[in-house]
Symmetry: C2
Subunit: 200 residues, 2 copies
């Protein structure tokens, strides 16, 4: 007999961030309702958070395969990648966009994933003052060429594509609908994302 599960959906308006609190076993599905939109995803438990460089060491991959974990800077699994209903392009190489990034691009007043993260964590009541972790950039298409060069391509997601994580630890998951509209990683205009949480 299947246990009763509850599902809730939080909209992340275009260019902004939101965070949800989840318990171990809950599933978090990040949906791109309009297609072509990159999301920066972060998972925190206290000051501990997912870490790209420790996750690569744990998985021996640039990005985990379905069934593999994202681990923290203390090498503890915090999220599992449980489903990828998208073309499968995700990035874990590139830093979150931030005010310095936009200043260098000539846009001194611009929203950023780094600031979206701060706002979303504050709104969720999660106290974190450390550096911005390197994000899990879902739907972001940064292919690595054989000589080590990186290309910056538009997100290839179609409307409704999604990626689903399961929480291994009780944690706060933040999602920024990336406001990058200068470098062409988002296809078309900036659009919202959805965070669908299904309790375990």
């Amino acid at each position: 007999m299947q246990a009763s599960r509850e599902t809730s959906v939080v909209e992340v308006p275009a260019g902004t961030g939101r965070a949800v609190r989840v318990a171990a076993g809950d599933r978090v599905r990040v949906i791109d309702p309009d297609g072509g939109q990159v999301g920066d995803v972060f998972a925190f438990t206290g000051a501990e958070h997912h870490s790209a460089s420790h996750t690569r060491a744990a998985t021996s991959r640039l990005f985990p395969a379905v069934g593999e974990h994202f681990v923290t800077q203390r090498r503890r699994p915090i999220l599992t990648l449980v489903e990828d209903a998208s073309p499968g392009y995700h990035d874990m190489l590139i830093a979150a966009c931030d005010p310095e990034r936009y200043a260098a691009l000539g846009a001194s007043e611009h929203r950023s994933c780094a600031e979206n993260l701060r706002e979303a964590l504050a709104d969720a009541g999660h106290d974190y003052t450390g550096p911005t972790p390197q994000p899990i950039n879902v739907f972001m298409r940064i292919p690595v060429e054989q000589d080590g060069r990186l290309r910056w391509l538009e997100a290839a997601t179609s409307p409704g594509d999604s990626i689903t994580f399961e929480a291994v630890l009780d944690c706060v998951v933040a999602v920024s609908a990336c406001p990058q509209d200068i470098v062409g990683i988002n296809a078309g205009s900036l659009s919202p994302l959805l965070i669908e949480v299904t309790s375990s």
Copy 2:
């Protein structure tokens, strides 16, 4: 007429770390005197430090080419790669080894690059309490396969191979002669590294 330059050399004993203070324009050459030894390199100015993910965004490469900069988490150039007298394999994907890494490998009492960094900074009088930055793993051979898998291969350096950085900012450069002797990234037994500083 060439200005007078002074050169000093610090030995980094096998499995340990050392740090040097350098001024903008100084050159730091990391030498592998015995060959086959990985070094974890870090550059700090105050709480600001080189950042792998911001450097990849700045260079659009997994590792800078000669003439390109390593930038900080504030996207300021801190080091320039000025010469590579080695087979050219370096890594900027993998986290520094740390006590948690060795505990998972069954070695609960083991030196680590993360602890070597703390000791080296403390010895150099550089106050830093933040997280361990993702290192510049010189001579570390982690090829990326087309499907995104990472391989862990032994360092291919011959005795005397080196890599040279130029400081863009006044900074502290720390080097750990990686004590990893469980996963086969160091060839043969652990060996020392040398830090050669040439003033500008």
